[in-house]
C-alpha cells in the first residue's frame, strides 16, 4: 500500500524522494460515459493525472465526495456504486446495488451514502466506509405501485429529500437511525423531473414536467406542505418540445435569486428566494439543461438540450441578461466551476474533450482528451449542502 502511494505521488509530483503528502482540494474527476472510465484531474495544473477503468455503464453517472475530499462515490446507470480513492487513483470498492440508478447523495455527517433508483424505484442507504447496505426505502406510493425517484439531495440532520416522478410527491427520509429511516410524504404535482436543496439546506424545490410550475417544500416547516411557485409560467402557450430533461441542483441559487430552467420554453426563470415570486425571465438560445451559477453568483452559465447542445449562454446576474454567447464544441453535456470560480470546465461529448475556460475573459485555457466525457465533479462539492 505504502509503495503504491509512494509511486503514485512520485509520478504525480514529478521526481522527488520519498512520499509526499497532499490535499485533495484541487482534484476532481471526469466521467467517460461510453467506456466505463473516469479520468482524475487536477484543477491547478489543469491536467489529468490518472484514469480508472471498470465502472460499468456510466451514462448519466454522477459523483459525491466524502467529507475529507479523498473518496468519490460514483453512481452508474447500471446500478453500480463505486468508491474511488483520489489519492491512490484506484477503486476501493464496487457494488451493484440496483438494476437502474440515477444518482445519489451523502449525509451531513458523511457516514451514509444514498443511491436513488428507477428500478426498483426507491432509495438505498449504504455505509460510506464499507458500502454495506444499511436500509432501503421503496418508493411505493400506492399499493404495489413503485415510482422512479428523482432529485435526491441531502439536507441537515442526516435527512434526504427526493421526488417521485410517477407518484407526484416529495418524500423526506430521516436517517438519524441509519438502519431504520422514517419517511414523511408531501403531495407535489405532476411528474417531478428533478430537485434541489437551496445552499442553506432550508428549501427543497422539485421542477415539474407535467405542469407549469415548481413545487417548494420548506424543510424548516415541512408540516406546512409543499406549495407551487412559478405556477402557470407557460400561461397556456404551446410548449416547445423538450429533447432532454433539465437538471436542478443548489448551484442555481445566486445573489438571493434562483435561476431555473423553464420547461418547453427557451428561457431561464428568475425567482426571489425571500418571497418565492417570479422576478424575471431571461431568453436563451435553447431548452436549458444546466443553469449553473459561478460560486460568487455574478454569472450563470447555461447549456442546452439537443439540438442546441453545442451552444452556451452566460448570464450576467447584475445586468440580468446574456452577455456572452458562444459555441465551444459538440455535445456540451456538463460543466463544473473550479472551487472559487475563476475557471469553468466543460465536457464536449462528441469532440471527446474537456474544455477549460477563464470565466472573466471567456478565453480557452486548455483542454483534456477524454472519451465521450459527461459529468465533471470537483472535490469542492464535499463541503456543500445538497451536493
Amino acid at each position: 500500500m505504502k509503495l503504491i502511494l509512494t509511486l503514485f505521488l512520485a509520478a504525480l509530483l514529478s521526481a522527488c524522494a520519498g512520499p509526499q503528502l497532499r490535499g485533495t482540494g484541487d482534484l476532481g474527476l471526469v466521467i467517460e460515459r461510453a467506456s466505463g472510465h473516469v479520468t482524475l484531474v487536477n484543477t491547478s495544473t489543469r491536467q489529468p493525472y490518472a484514469r480508472i477503468a471498470g465502472l460499468g455503464d456510466l451514462s448519466h453517472a454522477s459523483a459525491v465526495y466524502s467529507r475529507d475530499g479523498r473518496y468519490a462515490f460514483i453512481f452508474g446507470r447500471d446500478g453500480g456504486l463505486t468508491k474511488i480513492d483520489l489519492l491512490e487513483g484506484r477503486i476501493v470498492k464496487r457494488v451493484i446495488q440496483a438494476g437502474n440508478a440515477i444518482g445519489g447523495s451523502i449525509s451531513q455527517d458523511g457516514r451514509i451514502v444514498v443511491a436513488q433508483n428507477y428500478t426498483p424505484g426507491g432509495i438505498k442507504a449504504f455505509d460510506a466506509e464499507t458500502l454495506e447496505l444499511l436500509a432501503e426505502v421503496p418508493a411505493e406510493y400506492a399499493p404495489g405501485q413503485f415510482s422512479k425517484v428523482v432529485g435526491l439531495a441531502d439536507s441537515p440532520g442526516n435527512k434526504f429529500v427526493y421526488a417521485l416522478f410517477d407518484g407526484g410527491e416529495i418524500w423526506v427520509s430521516d436517517f438519524s437511525n441509519p438502519r431504520q429511516p422514517t419517511t414523511q410524504r408531501y403531495p407535489a404535482g405532476k411528474q417531478p423531473y428533478d430537485g434541489l436543496v437551496t445552499p442553506d439546506g432550508r428549501y427543497f424545490l422539485a421542477g415539474l414536467f407535467g405542469e407549469d410550475g415548481v413545487a417548494m417544500l420548506d424543510l424548516w416547516q415541512p408540516e406546512k406542505g409543499a406549495r407551487k411557485i412559478l405556477e402557470n409560467y407557460g400561461r397556456g402557450e404551446e410548449k416547445l418540445p423538450v429533447f432532454k430533461m433539465p437538471h436542478l441542483r443548489g448551484w442555481s441559487v445566486a445573489q438571493g435569486k434562483a435561476y431555473l430552467p423553464a420547461i418547453g420554453r427557451h428561457e431561464v426563470l428568475v425567482v426571489d428566494v425571500a418571497t418565492w415570486k417570479e422576478v424575471g425571465r431571461i431568453p436563451v438560445r435553447g431548452q436549458p439543461v444546466f443553469v449553473m451559477a459561478r460560486p460568487d453568483g455574478r454569472q450563470v452559465w447555461v447549456n442546452f438540450a439537443f439540438p442546441d447542445n453545442g451552444k452556451m449562454d452566460v448570464i450576467d446576474t447584475l445586468a440580468g441578461k446574456v452577455v456572452h454567447a458562444f459555441a465551444p464544441g459538440k455535445g456540451i453535456l456538463h460543466m463544473e466551476f473550479t472551487p472559487r470560480g475563476e475557471n469553468i470546465w466543460l465536457s464536449a461529448r462528441d469532440d471527446h474533450k474537456v474544455l477549460i475556460y477563464d470565466t472573466a475573459s471567456f478565453t480557452r485555457l486548455g483542454e483534456i482528451a477524454a472519451e465521450s466525457p459527461s459529468g465533471i465533479f470537483f472535490t469542492s462539492r464535499a463541503a456543500r449542502i445538497g451536493f
Partner: protein, 106 residues
C-alpha cells in the same frame, strides 16, 4: 409459372424494397449516434431504460412497429416523449424501430 420460379422473384422484390427504405451508410451512423446519445439521455445509452422505458428487443416484442415509429415521429402527448420529426423522415423512424426490435448497432 411454377411456385419454384416465383419464390426467388418474391425474395428479390422484398430485398429491393428493404434496400430502398434503408438509409445510406453515413445517415445510418448519424441515426445510431442520435439514438444512443440523445434518445439515450432518457432511455439509457445501452437502451435499458431510464426516465423513459427500455428500448431493448424483449421490451418491444409485443408492440406494433408502426405504433413505435409513430411514437418516435410524432411524440406521445402527456408523457415526456417529444416528436422527433424535425430530425428524421418517417422511413428513418421505421428503420430505427426495425433495428431496435432486432439488434441495435453500437
Amino acid at each position: 409459372m411454377s411456385l419454384n420460379r416465383l419464390l426467388p422473384l418474391a425474395a428479390l422484390l422484398a430485398a429491393t424494397a428493404a434496400w430502398a427504405n434503408e438509409p445510406a451508410a453515413d445517415r445510418q451512423k448519424e441515426l445510431v449516434h442520435l439514438v444512443r446519445q440523445d434518445c439515450g439521455s432518457c432511455h439509457g445509452m445501452t437502451l435499458q431504460g431510464g426516465l423513459g422505458p427500455p428500448l431493448l428487443p424483449a421490451a418491444l416484442r409485443d408492440k406494433s412497429a408502426e405504433g413505435l415509429a409513430a411514437t418516435i415521429y410524432y411524440g406521445r402527448p402527456g408523457t415526456p416523449m417529444p416528436p422527433w420529426k424535425r430530425f428524421m423522415s418517417e422511413a428513418e423512424a421505421q428503420w430505427i424501430v426495425d433495428k431496435l426490435m432486432s439488434e441495435f448497432p453500437q
